[in-house]
Amino acid sequence: MSLFDRRELDALQQDLERWQQETLAPTLKRMPERRSEFVSTSSRPVQRLYTPLDVADLDYRRDLGWPGEYPFTRGVHSTMYRGRLWTMRMFAGFGTAEETNARYKYLLQQGNMGLSVAFDMPTLYGYDTDAAEALGEFGKCGVAVSSLADMEILFDGIPLGEVSTSMTINSPAAILWAMYIVTAEKQGYRRDQLRGTIQNDILKEYIAQKEFLFPPEPSLRLVTDTIEFGCRELPQWNTISISGYHIREAGSTAVQELAFTLANGFTYVEAALARGLNIDDFAPRLSFFFNVHNDFFEEIAKFRAARRLWARAMRERYGAKDPRSWLLRTHAQTAGVSLTAQQPENNIVRVAIQALAAVLGGVQSLHTNSMDEALALPSEKAVTIALRTQQIIAHESGVTNTIDPLAGSYYVEKLTNEMEAEAERYFRRIEALGGVIPAIESGFFQREIADAAYRYQMEIDTGARTIVGVNDFVADEPIAIPILEMDPHGYERQVARLKRVRAERDNGAVQKALRELADYARSTENLMPPIIAAVKTYATLGEITDVFREVFGVYHEPVFF
């Protein structure tokens, strides 16, 4: 049942035309608009005006509903931020485990509520610090963890049973998770007490971030193993963070980010169902991770459309009965690609606007980028400003006083509807290709993303799109890319530590554990228990990953422009 009276709408239509002729036309004649077309950050055209006519069919109960109830368009909780603010979770990690440990303690003191671990490049790719492939890449974009010993130092003095930890790790996620679990158990905690997330979203690696190691099928098996293990042993843990952030960073539009992420989500759901898991056992622990880019309203609509799409699919397509299975809970991070190297202080403003959009979009947890974050690991001062940005929004702006305040905006509701419809068109195209994995192999996603990225860059190069400080309002300042001073001897210390670990452990036990792991990998058994067993012997990340490389093979991507 529509919110609007049909006769009233007809009258409105006529009056709109009158306005266009009597008031708008003369203005346009005197002063044409600033451009011939206004487009969002995703290059989608935006109308001059939105009216009830644009949302004539809006049915409050069907399309919006109440907060905390299906279809969750207005929010996943009935009190939202009045009950509890989103988690202010600042991503951090660099160099050695000791340095990162110190940063975590600092952040916890400053009011950061959850820990978020960034790993360095070699770790992300399953290489030990002293591997040949790792040369030159140690500690640059995160912390190096090559064995259980490093994980123990990373969380030394931090009670893992009392914090929530998010680990941004994908291909070797199961291994790092195993190290975390063992570390927590050594601190005296039970598995069911542990709270946190592993990103563990391998499908988006093939699409966007490219940190894949093994081919899609065995990688999906590993992810399903972790979902199953989480169901059984760590009920408070989110075993996957189905991510759109990286897809967006790779250059996709907002709708592509939305559609590709949810399509990946459906694939994981189907894999878990094929494993024999009950949907209501694992779905409540699936979580998401989206980007928040510049276009304020487009991003808000994206989050609302995401919640509605997921709820509908989970209930109607997959038959989930538990309302918690229908919930799309999401972490968000402000867009790294929107940050400029020129006039970096401008980025503080960009991040503030993006963070506001995330909050008005109803996210559960948020990382705000530091002003120099796209260029280098952030300084303490910069990361503090980023955290304060969230705190000011939370406590001073007033937007948290009420739930989903933009509901009912003709623009926002129209945009939400449009994004939902376009996402569904993408779902059908992906299905026609045979599903996400065949679509990956045929290059569908990569081509869509490359086209969008290219279009965006051309808009900037031609000046059709203004980026303040870059192609307009430029200042004649040199770009200073600050360097966070890292411990210059970190690499040597890490290599030395690795040597000690390898020397001091029971190497017979290590070899035995690795052999068993290989047997498990060749079977269809869940891999978490043998990974945990191997981790306990202080087998290194590289040694364990090599077992998988051997058994599963190594994936080389077909490149698509």
Binding site: G434, E441, S442, H556, P558, V559, F561
Partner: protein, 343 residues
């Protein structure tokens, strides 16, 4: 980039024959760019070529040609052959630039001194094959590679052109690209010596094989279209006792290149075809055909250039206007150009 001053035909030829890859790469560039060294290089290398077996790989986009070429090269290496690969991609008619994206799919071949990969753009050739491709193949041949794989764009007339350059032409199909077998749609069924139905694990692979079998059962053509430098040559076949093509029936192979399945069998067919060509005399017959067409084409180019060079631009423009405004027909205009030239 500036040619190193020490480069001469002799140094390049000696170098590439001795295995100097820099000399080989530079020689190929000279040919591609049509530098003053290009013709003398070809003249010097032509007699050194003829040993390699040339394998054309063509097919519609999306059939997995590069992956197949990758697999074939690896398989040949395992059997001890050296492999040269020429991968052709289209030049944009609007910008004149090209994205040469085949090499990126051949990671497995990196670091192997027995393999040489060169990416080429069509550079305005009318067909899909680079004008200089056949000449570049000669350079690789003279450099001593046992097998040369030529991968083409797979649209339009390039498939037919490849057939006249290569000894063995493989047409690659893949299921799920549409209802019809792509080769039939393109009208280039006749050029295939071997068919590869790639991505054979996909739905519809068997249907594609069946469709091909049916088409082939409808008879093997008794004439050969020859293309050269992007132009179709009207062919007068030299006389021969028996139509040689009648005794080779193109086999159809199912492959899954990305998993390296079916590649060995495909390779065996290529080698069988190579032997067939030798033993049946077809190879020599086709070589004659190619030599005849090549001579004709080059002659055409030289004569055209000669006439145009001697024609003042204004005269040519006047004739063009006359034809465009239909005051004159193009045949008469051409005659006038020639007669003026003779006068």
């Amino acid at each position: 980039m500036p040619a190193p001053r020490t480069e001469t035909v002799e140094t390049l030829v000696t170098g590439l024959r001795a295995g100097d890859r820099r000399a080989l790469a530079r020689a190929i560039s000279h040919i591609e760019d049509g530098t003053p060294l290009a013709r003398p290089l070809l003249a010097a290398l032509y007699s050194q070529a003829g040993r390699a077996h040339l394998i054309g790989v063509t097919g519609a986009p999306g059939t997995g040609k590069s992956t197949l070429v990758n697999g074939l090269a690896l398989a040949y290496r395992r059997r001890g052959y050296t492999v040269g690969i020429v991968a052709v991609d289209p030049t944009s008619p609007f910008t004149g630039g090209a994205l040469l994206g085949d090499r990126v799919r051949m990671r497995d071949l990196a670091g192997d001194p027995g393999i040489f990969i060169r990416s080429m753009a069509t550079r305005g050739s009318l067909g899909g094959l680079a004008q200089a491709t056949a000449d570049v193949v000669i350079v690789l041949d003279a450099a001593g590679f046992d097998r040369i794989l030529i991968e083409t764009v797979g649209v339009g007339q390039s498939e037919v052109e490849i057939a006249s350059t290569a000894h063995t032409t493989i047409v690659v199909e893949a299921p799920g690209l549409g209802d019809e077998v792509q080769a039939i749609k393109a009208g280039v069924l006749e050029i295939a010596d071997i068919f590869a139905v790639n991505k054979a694990d996909r739905e519809g692979a068997d249907r594609t094989v069946t469709a091909l079998k049916m088409m082939l059962g409808q008879g093997v053509p008794d004439k050969y279209p020859i293309m050269h430098h992007g132009r179709l040559l009207p062919v007068t076949l030299p006389p021969l006792e028996a139509a040689p093509s009648a005794t080779w029936v193109p086999p159809i192979h199912k492959t899954i290149a990305i998993q390296n399945q079916g590649i060995g069998e495909l390779l065996d067919s290529i080698e069988a075809h190579r032997l067939y060509l030798e033993q049946s005399g077809t190879r020599q017959w086709r070589d004659r055909l190619r030599a005849a067409s090549e001579l004709r084409m080059i002659l055409r180019d030289i004569l055209l250039a000669r006439v145009l060079d001697r024609t003042p631009v204004e005269r040519l423009e006047r004739l063009v206007s006359a034809v465009a405004e239909r005051r004159l027909d193009p045949y008469t205009a051409a005659r006038q150009l020639l007669d003026a030239d003779r006068a």
